[in-house]
Structure formats: C-alpha cells, structure tokens
Symmetry: C2
C-alpha cells in the first residue's frame, strides 16, 4: 500500500467529482447534450480568462495550443519578438522558427522575469514585429512576468501580444481584457484541474485581424474553422468529450469560489511554501516568484535528480526537479489547482525528509512550522 | 430514466474496465510508472496495426493525425494523389491543399470504393507524386477500400501510401507490414474503444526517409521529435495520460481475443446488420460494405435528420445520419469496438420503430429475425 501525492506543475490532481464525470458513458459530440456541455464550458472559460472574447477549445497538449498561436498569427518571414527566461520561453523560439519566423529573442537569465523595458526597446527597434510571445508564469523557473506592463507596452504598437498561460491560468491572477492580452493559450492539466488532452486559446479582435491574414499552413488548429463551429455549439473535429465533461465540473467549482478567491488561495499557498522552503535553509530560485509553483536552489552536495526520484518512489510524494541546465540543481513544488494547505505541509515534510536523506542538515519540523505560521493555521 | 445506446461510428462505447482506469488518480508522465504504460501501449498498438514499425502516439483528434501525416510527408508544391469517395477523402484534399500540395484527386462516386486501377493510372501519369492518400474504411459511406491492392501498386513506385484507418482500425482487417502500407493513422474513439483525444501514426522505413526530408513547418506533430522520445518511453509533450490508461486496458482486451477473432466478430456483426437492414426493405448504400459500419439508403418519404434525432431523443438509441450531400438521405449504424450482437438487435429495432414512426411501412420483427439468423443465434 502506498499513497501518492502529486505536487508537480502539471499534471495536477483531478478532483474526484471531475474524474468521475470522465468515467461516465460517453456522449456523442454532434448532439444537443454535447451542445449544452460546450456552451457551459465556453462560458466558464471566459470567466477564468476574464474575457469577453471567444476561447477556442482544442484537443491537444498545451504545446499544441502554443503552436496554434504561432500558425494562426505568423506568416513565413514575419518578425516575432520572444520574451524568454526559461524552457517554455525557448519553446516559443523553437516553434516560431519551425514556422519560418524571424525571431528576435529578448532573453533574461533563468529565474528572473523578463524586463518590460526590454520588450519596449525591442519593439522600438523592430517596429515591423508582428507579435510578442511570452509566458505568464514560466513553469521551468517559477517566475511570474508582469503581463499588465507587457500589455500596456504592446497595445501601443501594431504587434499582437501572445501569452502562454498554460501553468498560470486558474491560479495566478490574469485579466485578459483589462490587461490587453491579445492571445492567451492554456492547458487543461494545471489550474483547470482536468487530465491533460485539452488546450485553449482566447483570441481578441486585434489578434483576429492578424489571424485572418496569416499565411502559415494550418488545418487542425485553424482558428477560422474553430470560430465558425462555435455557432453550432461544437468543435470542428471530434473533441476529447470525456475531458470536457470533467472540465464542466471543475469550472463549476472554480466559479463557485470566484476568481478573486481562487487567486488569493494560490497566493496564500505560495507564501506558505516559500516560508517553508526558506525554513529548510534553501534559497528561493525565482526573483519574482509566481503563485502556482515555488522553486528553490539545492545545495551542491544534494543530488537533485536522486532526491526527486527518492521522494516519489519511497515517500510517494511527487515534486519536480529542474529542466535543461537546471537539472539536478533546483526543486519545484507546485501549488496549483486542486491543492490545499495540507498538500503544502505534505510536500515540505517530504522535502525535509529527502534533504536529510541526502546528507543536508535540516532542522526538524521547522518547515512545517513556518508554513503553518504563514498559513495562519496557528 | 432513459438508457442510452451509442451506435455511432465514433465515439463508440467505452468498456467499463477502461472508463474506470481513466478515473483513477492521474500519474505524472515523466516517471517509470508512465514509462511502463507507454511501453505496454506501444507494443499493443503494434499488434493492432500488425506492424514492426514504431506507432507514434499523439494527443489530438484523428484529424490531427491526418494533418501530422501531411505535414511530415509533404513539402510545399509536392504532388499528392488523393483517393477519395467520401467526406474523409475530401478531408485529405483540404489538408494537403492547406499545406501547399499540388493535389491530384482520384475521385469515385460516394458509396463506391476507389478503383485500384485508377490509382495505378494516376501514378503512371504523375511519376513525381510524393504520396498517395486514402481511407481504409470511408466513415461517411461505409465503404472499404482494397488496401492490399493499393499497397502493391504504390510499393512499385517511389510514392508513399498514407492510410486513414481512423474508423477501421481494430475492426476491419488491416495488415500494415504485409500490405505495404507506409503510413497508417488512427484515433482512439473507434475500434480502440477509448474516449476521443488520442491519435496514432504508424510509419515505416520508406516513409521515414520522406519524413526526414520534408519541408513543411511542424513542431507539435513532428515525427522526428516524437521518435526521439520513444527511447525514453515517453512523449515529447504532456500526453492525455488518463486516456492512455484506458487504452492500456482496451489493448489488453483486444489482445486477449487476438486480431483474427476481433476482425471475424466485426464481419459477423456487419453481415447481421446488412441482413436486418435489407429485411426492413432498405437498400444498402455501400457497394463494397466495410465491417465496422453499415449504411443504407432511406426512402425519399423518410426525413433522415428527423429520424435520427427522434431515435436518439425518444428511444435513446444513437445512429448516424448522412454527411454533406447525403444529409437526410442515408442512415449509418456502427458496429465497431465495444459492440456485440445484442447491440445490433437494439439498433435494428430502433430503426424499425423509427421508420414506422415516419410513415414507412416496415414488417414487424423481420429485421431482428433476419439479423438473428445471420448471427446464427437461432
């Protein structure tokens, strides 16, 4: 017997009410029963995206939604500014290059947010840039970017701002319309608390004009085809019906709380996690940490890969390690979606046990104490 | 209280053992637990595809897999022969055109298979054709193509044969290697008995050389990236983990029976359905009917759309109507995947009731009788 605790930045735990929905007999996607699901989910997504725009529903991983934005916004040879300070920023670079874009990277050291001033400079130096691509929260480092500042800057230019909100949506405060974000893409398996397989793209009017003129090949991810089918309350191709049933359930849960409460809960969990990590003697990795995951540097003496594997295999607690050049060097504890204050205590306790196992001298119980204080449970 | 019977050509009913798997707590996709699932599913898919080649796992609808084949095989301006006698043949045309291909259509009247001789002629007239695209079973009409003949013809040329086996795989006899099929794409929600959201692409060595040289933009669906990740028993991007757990369960069920038995079961259900339809006084629509669905013409006096809706809403039995110019003119009863002889009786009984409701004079009980005889239940 082993209990498993999934505290990774996606997939995240699925609430039983949502998991059970996905196990019910499947309904056909060209029926009024499905139309009702499609309608309810579409309305719920607008609340989470904080937008009046259409939010397109795709059957794919989050990366599929990123590619959909590139394919629908850029034409071959277009100039694309990419704000990057992590693995997912670099993914924008790779996708845009695969689609023949002329990429102007605005890179920042991993662990730091991208300076809005540098985006302003890049736009001034490249007035012909078709779009600016960025992350809301950079999952590989735990940093949050200042999207509101990005939005103000890009809105003053002809460029379109495309935001990867895959790990942030439904956890980190995001206001698509108020912040003037033109395209926002997301996935199902993070703050939306559904299994992976669905992705989303909110597209505003400024972006829509670009979509209609874009010249890259696209069919499955073609926003024009998807937009047309919305009138019939359906998707152009057979969607992941069972995951949409789950999503209907989680969107109801989210809306019962309301976005302000959802964002505040994540902020509180983040504060507690940071307090706990620091009480363990770890240094936080992100200079501007997001609310959906917390990353911390590991001492050089601690083998990060082995630590994460041991916690998972021996304790049943899954945290994430580092990616690319951060492999083995940081640990990432997620607090997004269906996670609560007690999950944080579990994660910190496992981390404390693991660090001790790998030779680090850590104070017993201090992390839980600090987190509990921060959670104001005491 | 209403019982629902889903007898449509996708999505199809999901066995409870598979549905329950999808509702269990989700596992992370970068773990050895997932590696075991990936490994088992990959091996099982090879059995169903009857191939020694890699079968790539995609998180998308079946159409995503079709697009993946186009994007990975064709370069802009390439000549592509498309064998089409239905809505999904036309989908190949549209996708190939979206990717800048020079499409040479080999069209046949809907309801008929595509004549292998015409493909041979098209290849002779277009020796520079990069690929031939076709359907195994054309879902919109219920026709099966002679893939073995297609394979022999295309194998004698430099072209690559790309097969849409989305509705046929796991029901209609298919032997990828023996029949020299170079690329075979499929989806999860038909004969594989899983919810929609997963798709597959088997790719052989002849096709692989073309993939490596192809110049169309691709990232999410890039076979090169997917192939690399197989060594690590994973997918490049977060896959639809819960659906893969379902698939593990259904592939076990399929392999317990063995492919010969699976194909024979579908042939038997098809024979019974045809006998029942004809006993109702309906004329079969497909000249060479497949084993996974049966289509029949409706008398002009019967409003097909209303018939299908009434059967679904009032009787709880979902059949499919016609698509495009066949809308309202044919009815399609699926017998693919998790459907058995008793489902056929339900479908025929509902159809008999519906036809009578809409004014057709149909003999009472004769369809069930004929089907039962064909099933050798008597």
């Amino acid at each position: 017997m082993k209990k498993f605790y999934l505290l990774t930045p996606g997939p995240t735990p699925i609430p039983p009410e949502a998991a059970a929905q996905a196990a019910l007999p499947i309904i056909h996607h060209r029926t009024h029963e499905f139309g009702d699901v499609f309608d309810e989910v579409s309305k719920g997504l607008k609340v989470v995206f904080q937008t009046k725009n259409d939010v397109f529903i795709l059957t794919s991983s989050g990366t599929g939604a990123m590619e959909s934005a590139v394919a629908n916004i850029l034409s071959p040879g277009d100039k694309a500014i990419v704000a990057s300070s992590g693995a997912f920023g670099e993914r924008w670079v790779k996708i845009a290059q695969a689609y023949g874009a002329n990429v102007v990277p605005v890179r920042e050291e991993w662990g730091k947010p991208v300076d809005p001033g540098k985006i302003k400079e890049a736009l001034a130096a490249n007035p012909d840039a078709k779009a600016v691509f960025c992350q809301h929260t950079e999952t590989s480092t735990g940093v949050v970017n200042d999207l509101k500042a990005f939005g103000d800057i890009v809105a003053a230019t002809p460029a379109v701002l495309v935001v990867d909100a895959i790990s942030g949506l439904g956890g980190e405060e995001l206001r698509m319309d108020d912040w003037k974000l033109n395209v926002v893409v997301a996935g199902s398996q993070k703050g939306l608390m559904v299994a992976p397989g669905l992705a989303f793209a909110g597209v505003d009017e400024k972006a829509w004009k670009v979509v209609e003129a874009a010249k890259n090949p696209r069919f499955y991810f073609d926003y024009r085809r998807i937009k047309k089918s919305i009138a019939d309350k359906e998707t152009p191709f057979t969607p992941a019906v069972t995951l949409l049933q789950s999503l209907k359930a989680t969107l109801r849960m989210i809306q019962e709380d309301g976005m302000d409460k959802v964002w505040e809960r994540h902020r509180k969990l983040a504060r507690a996690t940071r307090a706990g990590m620091q009480a363990l003697g770890l240094e936080l990795f992100a200079t501007v940490p997001c609310s959906v995951l917390t990353s911390a540097k590991l001492p050089e003496s601690v083998p990060g890969g082995k630590l994460v594997n041991w916690m998972r295999d021996d304790l049943g607690v899954s945290l994430a390690g580092g990616q690319e050049h951060l492999k083995g060097k940081i640990v990432r504890l997620a607090h997004m979606g269906f996670m609560d204050q007690f999950d944080i205590l579990v994660g910190l306790s496992a981390l404390e046990t693991g660090l001790r196992k790998f030779g680090m001298s850590v104070p017993v119980g201090k992390a839980s104490h600090a987190a509990t204080e921060a959670l104001a449970l005491v």
